[in-house]
């Protein structure tokens, strides 16, 4: 993969567009964008985007590989699906954003300190352990791996307390906690899925 990171991508060439088409979830839609900007205007996170989705699609077509993949813009997506339902060309923008983010992560060139990127990874690791998300561990992990550790933890302790009072947070979860029975089965399934996906991407010069 590393050689691909440094691969020379020329301007306004199909190479990066083709790479996205082959390797990014729903990437084959990028070519259909007509630059109307309705996605950009529909995103609830507004200014948080350095590059709006429609601009990212143009950047992909302009061959700006590194700028796109190292951007933190895709990580701004809150999966609200506003853009998808309004897009006049039916681009599944939410998924493309997730796909680009994942692809950047996979290539190891996603922004290192992007909090959502970290959280998304934590979430995945967390659910992978026992097949179900352990909110408490996830929360605590967050405070120390994403937030500023104790400070964040203290900031949120009142919430934790309130949730506990409302029986919506169980300290015991920290030890053991909910789990599915067939964890190993799940792991096998996911491993296989990963393997299949690797193969597909490798085939397309991943």
């Amino acid at each position: 993969m590393s050689d691909m990171n440094t691969a020379m991508i020329e301007k306004y060439r199909n190479s990066f567009l083709s790479e996205v088409e082959a390797n990014v979830e729903e990437g084959e839609w990028v070519k259909m964008c007509m630059q109307c900007g309705v996605c950009a205007g529909s995103c609830p996170l507004g200014n948080a985007w350095e590059h709006t989705p429609q601009k990212i699609f143009m950047m992909i077509r302009a061959g700006k590989r590194d700028e796109v993949l190292t951007s933190d813009s895709m990580w701004m997506c809150t999966s609200c699906y506003n853009c998808i339902v309004r897009c006049p060309r039916e681009l599944p923008i939410t998924h493309i954003m997730h796909g680009l983010a994942h692809y950047a992560k996979r290539l190891g060139i996603a922004p290192k300190e992007q909090p959502t990127a970290k959280f998304a990874q934590l979430f995945w690791d967390n659910l992978m352990k026992k097949g179900r998300v352990n909110e408490l561990k996830l929360g605590v992990d967050l405070y120390f791996k994403v937030g500023e550790g104790m400070k964040t933890a203290m900031k949120n302790k009142d919430i934790g307390l309130a949730m506990w009072k409302a029986k919506r947070l169980n300290p015991m979860e920290f030890f053991g906690g909910h789990s599915i029975k067939d964890v190993s089965g799940l792991h096998k399934i996911i491993a296989k899925a990963q393997e299949l996906e690797e193969a597909r991407i490798a085939k397309h010069g991943g």
Binding site: E25, P44, L45, C77, T78, S79, C80, Y81, N82, I84, V85, R86, T94, H98, G99, A101, H102, K105, R106, A110, P115, T116, A117, K118, F119, A120, Q121, F123, W124, L127, M128, G131, R132, V133, E135, L138, G139, D158, I159, A162, M163, K165, A166, K167, R168, L169, N170, H178, I180, K181, D182, G185, L186, K188, I189, I190, K192, A193, Q194, E197
Partner: protein
């Protein structure tokens, strides 16, 4: 009226002691009243919501939901799958449709599932509980069960994102869905049809990682509700419910606001309206108590 049966996918957050366990309680109460039997999918797993994408690629994430669907097909054959959590519903239904429209993916998913001796047809309808209520049961029947109309309570219907987009409830618009308002009216309370934040995203996905961004969005949602004179907000989504409810103190601290807006589930409202106890309606699960509901429940 025959009992309705569904294959039920509760999702992580509604497990005992989890952030929306109160949702599950009120849903169960509501179902008892409506003569609905929920058959939990055995050994269901997390759907990865829409945030697992950093670690999980497309196929692995699809595989998660595929496993749940396969289990449902095996253990609850012929039953529609119903989810109460917007994210669970969305992920499962999305997986369903993607696999239906892409034979290659379906084949790959099955190859993966085979590792755990599962297989999948991906043909059962996947419904959100709101769909069950509106499409399978209907306002009329919902209304007919009301014992204690929620009179004098003004409720802002907050639909949020994922219950509404990209699938939404049949016949409802993405920009201005009306079903929560209709439901509120059906239960005898006052709705706010012009509530402009109905479908505004609460930033759930960023609540942990980038709270300042999400809390900005939550602030708008609550403010608008106050502007319309709402007593409480009702929502069909656990992520929305938690986000909008639990950060109000922090928002007050940051922005000097005085928010104390209860945020409840439609199932909470229904349980109360159907004359059940505060406990059955899981009113004790409110971080911000819904006093007006407690009063009615106490009557």
């Amino acid at each position: 009226m025959a009992k309705r049966e569904y294959s039920f996918y509760p999702g992580c957050s509604s497990q005992k002691g989890a952030s929306s366990s109160n949702y599950l309680v009120s849903v169960q109460t509501m179902c008892e009243e409506l003569d609905i039997q929920l058959n939990e999918i055995p050994d269901w797993n997390c759907c990865a919501a829409s945030i697992g994408y950093a670690g999980g690629g497309e196929l692995p994430r699809l595989a998660l939901s595929a496993r749940n669907i396969a289990l449902s097909e095996e253990h609850n054959p012929g039953q529609d799958i119903v989810a109460t959590c917007a994210a669970c519903w969305l992920a499962t239904r999305e997986t369903q449709e993607r696999l239906q429209h892409d034979e290659g993916l379906l084949a790959e998913a099955n190859t993966a599932l085979a590792e755990a001796g599962l297989k999948l047809r991906a043909d059962a309808p996947i419904k959100h509980m709101a769909e069950v209520l509106i499409q399978d049961i209907g306002y009329e029947e919902i209304g007919s069960k009301v014992k204690k109309p929620l009179e004098g309570i003004k409720i802002a219907g907050y639909v949020g994102c994922q219950t509404n987009r990209p699938f939404g409830i049949a016949g409802e618009s993405y920009e201005n869905p009306k079903y929560l308002d209709k439901l509120v009216e059906t239960l005898g309370a006052d709705s706010i049809p012009t509530y402009e934040k109905k479908v505004q995203c609460c930033g759930g996905a960023l609540a942990f990682s980038e709270p300042e961004k999400s809390q900005e969005m939550i602030k708008g949602i609550i403010e608008a509700a106050y502007d319309h004179g709402a007593d409480m907000i009702v929502t069909p989504c656990p992520v929305c419910q938690m986000n909008v409810e639990v950060y109000q103190d922090q928002i007050n601290a940051t922005h000097g606001t005085k928010f104390k807006m209860p945020v409840v589930y439609y199932s909470t409202l229904m349980s109360v309206a159907y004359g059940r106890s505060a406990a059955d309606a899981a009113l004790n699960g409110q971080v911000i108590p819904a006093k007006k509901l407690e009063e009615i429940a106490a009557k």
